[in-house]
Symmetry: D2
């Protein structure tokens, strides 16, 4: 079987593994207070073009989301997000477990707009019983989103502007950020994110690391005492250096974006084949995730050789599914998939 079901089926990129191996027996202080973490953080601050952002390394995405949101909010406040947002549907209520309601907005291809945020917040404030409702205080977005779509620079500028006007925090979940930065459609840089978001993270788990997310905090109100919160939520690795070593490797010589570009190029190749075969998409895309709508019969045939993800049933005879490439995807496997698609489409 060839796996296209996600972007975390393998371990880590060889350069990351090499760095872990090389440093394995070096003695360092624990809990992320080592020189590898310091160096990786410094590289990220440089890439963000700001010396004043705080950088913390966390083990995974759910951990990062719940820790950031818990650090940012007072008890009566909640997080606005798209109904498809990872915190709303795929983290077993991790945010609610810290006491905060997730306030879902109808998404458009996995994204929400400044207009939606503004209108929700103003309606809340205008309601005479506003104190009986959770106060919206943070906007959570993911880019690439759970549906593989990207926020443009213009969209982020507008969201950021709305949040600042309204006194809300903007938090960008970048679990797949590398694949966004590498997309042909992307016009956003790390500098933009550090400027426009109050907090965001650079995902390592899905982009070349064994695990790990680098949380970048521009707004000191969220960053205050942040390490206490990491520890409290069980996210502080005794051997924190593992995160530093990995991000140090990924942030060296543009490795992070280079390996993501590999995944995007292969995804583009699959998209070309699907376009050629005039296969429609659930959502258009330009990153490493592809959501074609295919007849059940074709999917049944493909499932004999390939592993992919079920997304949703579209009609009685068609389902949308997800194919993912990654930094580890092998070119010959993509060629074979494209070949299979053409053959099965022919028979159909």
């Amino acid at each position: 079987m060839i796996y296209f079901n996600n972007d975390y089926s393998e371990g880590c990129h060889e350069k990351v593994l090499e760095a872990l191996t090389r440093t394995n027996l070096v003695q360092t202080p624990g809990y992320g207070e080592d020189e590898y973490c310091a160096r990786a953080a410094e590289k990220i601050r440089k890439l963000c073009g700001r010396e004043d952002v705080a950088v913390h390394f966390l083990v995974g995405g759910t951990q990062a989301n719940l820790t950031v949101i818990d650090a940012a909010l007072r008890p009566h406040q909640g997080a606005l997000c798209a109904v498809t947002g990872h915190i709303n549907g795929h983290e077993t209520g991790a945010v609610e477990a810290t006491g905060h309601k997730v306030l879902p907005l109808p998404g458009k291809s996995g994204k929400i707009s400044a207009e939606q945020v503004r209108s929700y917040v103003l309606a809340h404030r205008a309601d005479s019983s506003f104190e009986h409702m959770v106060q919206p205080k943070l906007v959570y977005i993911s880019s690439p989103s759970e549906l593989g779509t990207l926020y443009s620079l213009a969209e982020l500028e507008e969201l950021s502007q709305a949040c600042r006007e309204l006194g809300l925090y903007l938090f960008l979940d970048g679990a797949r950020l590398g694949y966004g930065l590498a997309s042909g459609e992307n016009d956003v840089t790390l500098q933009d994110l550090a400027r426009l978001c109050d907090v965001f993270y650079i995902g390592g788990t899905k982009v070349g690391a064994l695990f790990g997310e680098a949380v970048v905090i521009s707004n000191p109100a969220i960053g205050e005492d942040f390490r206490y919160l990491i520890k409290q939520h069980g996210g502080m690795l005794a051997k924190g250096r593992l995160l530093g070593v990995q991000f140090d490797a990924l942030m060296t010589d543009n490795l992070y974006v280079t390996i993501a570009a590999h995944a995007v190029a292969l995804a583009d190749r699959i998209r070309e084949t699907l376009d050629e075969l005039e296969i429609p998409y659930l959502v258009p895309g330009s990153t490493n995730q592809i959501f074609p709508i295919l007849p059940d019969s074709v999917l049944e045939e493909l499932a004999k050789e390939y592993v992919f993800c079920e997304q949703e049933r579209v009609d009685d005879t068609h389902r949308a599914v997800r194919f993912c490439t990654s930094w580890a995807t092998r070119e010959e496997n993509v060629d074979r998939l494209c070949q299979s698609l053409r053959e099965i489409a022919k028979i159909r």
Copy 2:
């Protein structure tokens, strides 16, 4: 500088690293549903002599503690532990953050007794305003304890018996379990733990792994839906296989205990030197942690070459400190430390 301050200064044992390297590009399902986790769990079940225990792999100790306790308790219930217990003092209120009070008992060298538990619980039940107090429902112990001491089989039998009589759960934190199993004074086996505890864990982070704790659940009341709770608390690694691969290596050919025995042997050598020099201890010990009480002047001298942990001030001129050995400690460094101790003691 030579580090004796803790047992997590290095990465992982070479066999663990080798296993991670060898399997790095193998494709597996995510979230711990891979064959490595299955195999490691199977080995642990065998070592526990029970096919009916559930085994889950978590990233770290605080994560394991908070997830287990949250899974076990209803909202009004709390966890009894020694005042020195890790959950009471060194996890930034992680248990309280899940809503549960930690109920500290005065410890004796880091340990609590069946008698203390019984007397606390019976007093609670006899109090006319019992409903105004947190209900004790779980006993948390650590062995080796935070002070390096071990529970004997007899002590565990009594605690287990008391818990069963009273309807409480017994939870053993085995963050340093290997060093306990390898101690010359130990008379407890994994089978005993699986039989006497409702839940315990086998610590990897401090005993040869990069990170990871294997939680063993004997009582199905705690284990029900446990994976939901892992996910909710941000402890479910996308590449869960990393935990499986590491524990598979550690549980093969007795590696886990063998490497711990190395640490204990070296600690014994330090203890012999201290005994020779007639240096007293804060707490007697037989595992990889040593708590000598030394004059400030000696500690000042030692601090020039060695890193160790401050434990507590004993009097105006003496402090108790902690020296740790580990699976990674080098024999020549221990020899050098012993030599230094003798020399400094001589001058004094």
Copy 3:
């Protein structure tokens, strides 16, 4: 100004006040362990036709909702409810503050169906990543609902049946239960509720008491140690007897339903006028809440003399509003409102 905006604008019914006054200086034990509470609970058990239900008195609705739900659920579990459910939108995230996600279903006039519950739960269980989602474990309904509608006996039987099949709890919020029992369309008794729900409550705050809700627990799994949970959530009144005295009065000689019937009769009179004037409703109703859709100009006129609630804008020139009657509503005020409606409608 005449208040039709809610059913809690006054204090309490004269017989309740008389009972409070009469017992004011009697000495009793605190925290609800007095004879008034015992007697009121006994009367409720009789009315429910079951000696084995537990009855607890809580101060208010939000308190009752959060305490019951927190008592019923393990950390990873959530509560299904209509999107209009009080716990979803009007309790400032009180349920989430106890760590549990509210899982909203699209409502139909404020109600949800057995079919919706069954389909949600089965979809959850069939999803391959079910552990990444909150587990549905309790169904929260309110009857009368937030939109004044009632569950019929048949609907409750079906919901109850679905919950039992699926292993979920059924919880009915009866904040306005009296007005439901008094409705001409009602076919449900307290016995039915005790039989079909795992837990429900009889609302006093809106039906004649100064404050207070009587929680009736049929399922011992929810009721275990319930008083600890009341205390923990700050809901245990030192002078718990106040709740006992009030419910004792309300449950004597059918007072509870009699005074609710007064409110419903007056609401019916308003509905007759609205029907006569061919004014449409947002939601049809038979209890003490009425949701007419009226032109902005009419509402502007009415607002000069009457206080009512804004519900929602229907189109550019019409809004739905809420008029409430209560046990305290005076007949002449209803007559005057009907008169005003006729006059304003005429001019329009």
Copy 4:
């Protein structure tokens, strides 16, 4: 039986009842936004000598404690208090249920000192692993304390000074504040409390009201959005006016202190008898609580006629118990108790 076991055995003072009766059918807005609450708050602000404090009315003490502490703290922060503090031992972990650890200090007759606070906080900050421990951020004291003792003005000044220097909040639980203000030893005014505390409350439940505590917030950092938090924790009474009406009555013509003085005078009379009989105290006192140490045989005899509280066993033949007077205590009952004490003492 004559009840001396607590100060909440009766309903409310006749003037409070009269006010409730008189206003019973007046229509008001809900949730504390009525004129009675406004007026009572205004009176309290006047008594505090400050127009800029916020006043909120909550139903009970546990509710007040958990809401204030949750409003004040970020997730990693905890509340210092005496080990005997109500939040530590008698609220079923209500503070922990909001996620915050209670940090107990050894008390001296129920009180803690500025010195203890300063030393705890400085030790926390000096510890190299401070991020692994809960951050102390609020000091909770009660005056009168759970043992009936009072903080002097000098003690409060010092605590306040220490808190300000260290950046901590000072929170005074005044559940029995009236009995403190009425004590012969008291040298503290409401103005002092408003000046020295960040937040405190004036207890009504135990001093003449049916229920209710008036929370006074001097520090806007705690008060921001406070009503959201009241609602979220289930503490917002629909008929909030009940609290306003009661506190309006209590704050009129010094009623609050006058009725408390009655209780203190009667307690003084009991103390005189005990002194006369040379009976020792667990803790000396000057408010409405008395903690004599008596032989078991005497207590057995007294228990035939009087209800009192068990406090603790002192030795094999003696127990400390608690006698409480209140605004409602009848003079003849006190005389009878004194008489009984003298008689039983004689026989002994």
